[in-house]
Symmetry: C2
Subunit: 341 residues, 2 copies
């Protein structure tokens, strides 16, 4: 086993703004042997998420930052190739936070068995993974969505965004998405069942939003921040809930994120804006997973993934797709044959 | 009766930024006679409130704007000097929204009898008026304050702010105020029982706040907005509630209010920020009033008023005290003998 090489991507420096090639180090080391109580996983799929940008920053947040020189944190799917862990056997497929590398040693904490004969690996990272959990608890718990309400979601063509829209539609909601570019907007309305989709790159987002939902929205699920957040705040209806899930437009801001100048709409509309961290819902993941799995099987929702094939060395470039709006659905890096063994 | 003159202050133009003398018109007209079902009130005290600035702006808000050429809206206390209303008699003292004028005709809607032998008129506009209602429902309902929690309040030397602090102290809370200048801060800690008070005019508010409440705050009651709001967001504890009561630092902003760049602390701390409009609590005013009256009688809280003596023509200058931080406690204009009859 030790004649195999584990290629890794490590954080080399804390980025200023968008992560640059020099912020990463590509390292390799012999694939380690699992100690007693450990398992060795060969990764097949990596989850790429906007939250990763935050993990690269110093300072307290909802999760400790990735330290410089550490392997970059990432959720993934892989196959157990060696095990001295009582719960896992060679050949098992598992999900967990294994990092941006080809092989990972784990003590089994946070590792779950997955059944790839039932569900493709990318879907485990998407609808059945943190993406689905985030959409589900963000919309239903934090957003307190009631059947039939009107939902506005930004980053609507992204992983969480399009799932939020689908869940709200499923529950009889009217769903308006905000996304970048006519192609994504068309996809949202024609394929994802959104009632309307607005391109934030075009002028007059606030005006167009008002035309699309003249009576305002009950829930605004924001993944984007910046001017999009302001536009959404301008469209709140009395008693609305704004779910702060992320702020992808702001993550690479060199200075400080731009705050929502329109926040006094919260006062006028007696509305609330609330943040959440999905890890708090861990005890309730099974509830959401079985519900989402059922909807997937019934064809009531679809898990949309944007799969890029490559090696772990492609991680840095692939990650940038998120910040450039180049993905539609969940961004997954499928580790293929082109990587060196 | 018609040989008496009613002096009035009307909105002459919608102000840009801080209201200027030219934004007001000083008018006079004969004191009118009440028609059937009406009463005539001679005003003795006017309530001056930060919200007045918002009422002067065009456009939809939680209450219709004051129209140009209309008498400026204001709550007040006065004496009934003529009545053809079944509920009110000459000599009664009443509170209501009578406007910035010496005499007001009313149909009795929203008019309440007050007992000046028990409670001085300014207190009816302060602890027992909308000021007290705002502090009470903002802290206990919107802020969901629990006994013993830590509360941060901005505009702490203002009418609502110092009442919020007193109510939280009364319930065993730790209270930190933010105010402008060492004198107000001293007053808060030495006379109002605040645990700490920070002067926002001094540098390093965020750092000093962190020193004052290293474990963070459970409720942040914000009357100020701008950099003070950002500093408070930086001090939130897990699960905190931010009550958006007002934004006096922003009301005169020529362009757009400054948004809280620190709003992503809501996400990190799983916190919520919520606005409210006190009028929604009207059905529950009696509950708050009897509770506050009891605390006042028991000496557990005090109603602090900043009374300016003058005529209605002094209203425009007096109002500016609010935006310049020149008041401590509730700002009241007591209409005295210097006004012309």
């Amino acid at each position: 086993m030790t004649d195999r090489t584990n290629h890794q991507v490590r954080l080399a420096a804390r980025p200023h703004g968008e992560p640059k090639p020099g912020d990463w180090a590509h390292t390799s080391e012999p694939v380690p042997e699992p100690a007693d109580g450990e398992l060795l996983v060969r990764l097949s799929h990596l989850s790429l998420d906007p939250a990763m940008r935050g993990w690269m920053n110093e300072g307290r947040s909802y999760i400790p930052p990735v330290e410089v020189n550490d392997v970059m944190r990432a959720a993934g799917i892989g196959e157990v190739v060696a095990s001295r862990h009582p719960k896992f056997s060679v050949g098992d497929h598992v999900s967990g936070v294994f990092g941006v590398q080809e092989y990972a040693i784990s003590d089994g904490r946070g590792v779950l068995a997955v059944d790839l004969s039932q569900v493709p690996a990318p879907t485990y990272l998407s609808a059945l993974g943190l993406t689905g959990m985030t959409a589900y608890f963000g919309l239903f718990d934090v957003g307190a969505f009631s059947d039939g309400e009107t939902v506005l979601v930004s980053g609507a063509a992204g992983a969480v965004g399009n799932m939020v829209g689908q869940l709200a539609r499923l529950k009889g909601g009217t769903v308006v998405g905000i996304a970048g570019g006519p192609e994504k907007c068309r996809w949202l309305t024609e394929e994802m069942g959104f009632d309307a989709a607005l391109d934030y790159r075009e002028k007059g987002l606030g005006r167009r939003l008002h035309q699309a939902v003249p009576d305002g929205v009950d829930v605004f699920f924001d993944n984007v921040g910046g001017p999009v957040l302001d536009a959404g705040l301008g469209a709140l209806r009395r008693g609305a809930r704004v779910v702060i899930c992320g702020a992808i437009s702001q993550y690479n801001n060199l200075d400080r994120p731009v705050g929502p100048a329109n926040y006094l709409r919260l006062l006028v509309e007696r509305a609330r804006m609330e943040g959440f961290v999905i890890f708090d819902y861990q005890p309730r993941y099974p509830e959401a997973q079985s519900q989402i799995a059922e909807w997937l099987r019934a064809g009531e929702i679809t898990s949309k993934e944007h799969v890029v094939h490559g090696g772990v060395h492609d991680f840095p470039d692939t990650l940038l797709k998120l910040f450039r709006g180049e993905n539609t659905g969940k961004l997954v890096l499928a580790l293929g044959s082109e990587e060196s063994a």
